[in-house]
Symmetry: none
Subunit: 205 residues, 4 copies
């Protein structure tokens, strides 16, 4: 309520954004606190007023990113389109988000690696992932119910596989920038995901 609290919260956010950007560009270990301070336009000591340490800063930066992603994902899911359209809409949103964040998304990958290594659970990350998978599962179930999708789909694993694909795609896009763009990959992926690669003119094999 007090104006001070607002200020603090705002500054925390400012720093987290700066950290998000720098971590994405240089990687966690290669980033110096000085870099973050400079990027945020504050003194190095100030970082420690808002975050306990470098690790905590990483978590804060992560949270910033995930809040944005989660909001966007919800937007793509909470509307009245039919399930298949929602699925396409979600894909389009994800691809745009990833392309928009560009280097920043690398931060996400880096962080997943980092967490899994440290053995720390980062609940927020898992929640987001699970929420993402759950959203897809719901769409698949709705699609099956509506008769659009095959009844024999392995819902859970198909949803997991779908979610995983996105990270694989960004990964390659980032690591081999000379290769196909995110949208090209997404188009090809959606095509096979919906239709499969088998020829069915003569009926099912």
């Amino acid at each position: 309520m007090s104006p001070k609290i607002v200020d603090k919260e705002e500054k925390r956010l400012l720093i987290a954004h700066a950290a998000f950007s720098v971590f994405g560009n240089k990687g966690f270990d290669r980033t110096r606190m000085d870099d973050v301070a400079t990027a945020a336009g504050v003194g190095k000591g100030t970082l420690y007023e808002y975050f306990d340490n470098k690790e905590d800063l990483l978590v804060g930066a992560m949270r910033v990113m995930m809040d944005g992603m989660t909001d966007g994902m919800r937007g793509a899911l909470e509307n009245d389109s039919p399930p298949l359209d929602k699925l396409r809409g979600l894909t389009v949103f994800m691809v745009e988000a990833m392309e928009h964040m560009g280097e920043g998304y690398r931060f996400f990958l880096e962080y997943m690696l980092h967490i899994s290594r440290a053995g720390n659970d980062f609940p927020i990350l898992k929640e987001m992932l699970l929420e993402f998978r759950k959203g897809i599962e719901d769409l698949l179930v709705a699609g099956v119910k509506s008769g659009d999708l095959r009844k024999d789909l392995d819902i859970v694993n198909t949803a997991a596989t779908f979610a995983a694909w996105f990270d694989g795609a960004v990964f390659h896009w980032i690591a081999v920038p000379q290769g196909p763009s995110m949208s090209e990959m997404a188009d090809a992926y959606m095509d096979t995901f919906f239709n499969g690669i088998l020829d069915r003119k003569g009926g099912r094999k």
Copy 2:
């Protein structure tokens, strides 16, 4: 001439293997040369007899892994099975290789991030990736020719998408070990990749 008879090539390989393992577990920046030396059972100074510096050691370790992968991939492709079986065989090989390498594969991901960040081209990596994609493209083309696959497939991007999926899957498997196993994801992926998710009892949509 040489007082101590040593198979330098063998020792280099021994060290590269150790490095591969340690880098995979701890990440490049978190790994100390001492860790690698201990893992390899040699003195720290010995590392520098065989590798110029830490970065060079990373490259050496990478090469070890990739040689293994490339050999395995070729084995999965060079046989007389029909294209679709080869595609399944390749997938099975990849999944098994990834599960077998486990933590080690993380090293691969880490390295791709590392390279893309450094801006260095690591030609060997790109070659492997391109060889992988090319192998898949060939299979798809063969499948189209044999009439098994849809004639309208976007070969290049579909191959890229397929290749990317693997890394996405390991990525999630490593980052969220509580989730589905590699094989479960692979089964679901292959199912949708071949058949799509659309219901076609009533004919094509």
Copy 3:
């Protein structure tokens, strides 16, 4: 603005003095940064706040010493005594300075060796040396003009020779401390330098 009020220039000087002393005692290569830090009463990291690296620290220390020498030399030269008295005064000043700096002067010798090896020009050093020689040349010229000195003197080389002698003398004094003192050598040198060693009772040879 600045949280800790520090006179950075003063601290830089403090460190340079410490470095000067330690380098003189142990030599450049034998000196550890820790030694300098301890001698300066600061942490090792602090050295790097004020100097880029060990080499830079060496240059800084050198500058400290040379400023002192140059000031003293100017003092010995800028007065109204006749040229020969100035020459004696300069010699006395140099001998006293060298004896006073003692071990520290070794630093100067060490540094000259160091520079010439590195092939770097250290302009400050050369300037001081040239200024020293020039001062002597001026005295010699003045002495010739006043009729006190021989008209056929090779001014430039005699000045160079005179300047060189000082370093030779300290060199021996430092390397063979059991030998004659600086003042004893200086007395003998001045005697021969002024009068030569030839007997002239019977007239010039």
Copy 4:
């Protein structure tokens, strides 16, 4: 007597020469045993067959140089010329030796600094120095006796001063190679040493 002994001695000398050259170029601390081994054309381990350690190698190299110098000096002194000619001859020999050794002489300076720092007496060095001074003292005494030189000379300190001058000259010659050559300095030095700088047309001052 046995040929082995001859071989060993020869090889020791070979190595010492190589060491002398490398130490002179790079300085003691900057020289690696590998450098010496390569320069000598032997394996690194072989150095330790002939010398206990790096320090011992330094001493050996020093001895090589000094033997050469001492022999030359004796040659310049042991003949039937009058004392003043011997003095000139000695100077000429020294200057030529120094110019000839060039970089190698730096080794001598470096070593004097090194010894004095270590606090070790290096008797051979002192003996050579003392022999040098003694030789000069004898010449001066002889010159006085023959009536060529002033009877009031401070023999000991003048000899010391004369010996010191050489090292000062090489020092400047090495450190400031743009300056006058050794011979130019030597000519100027001898001129003042013999005749002084005072004008005596009007008789002694």
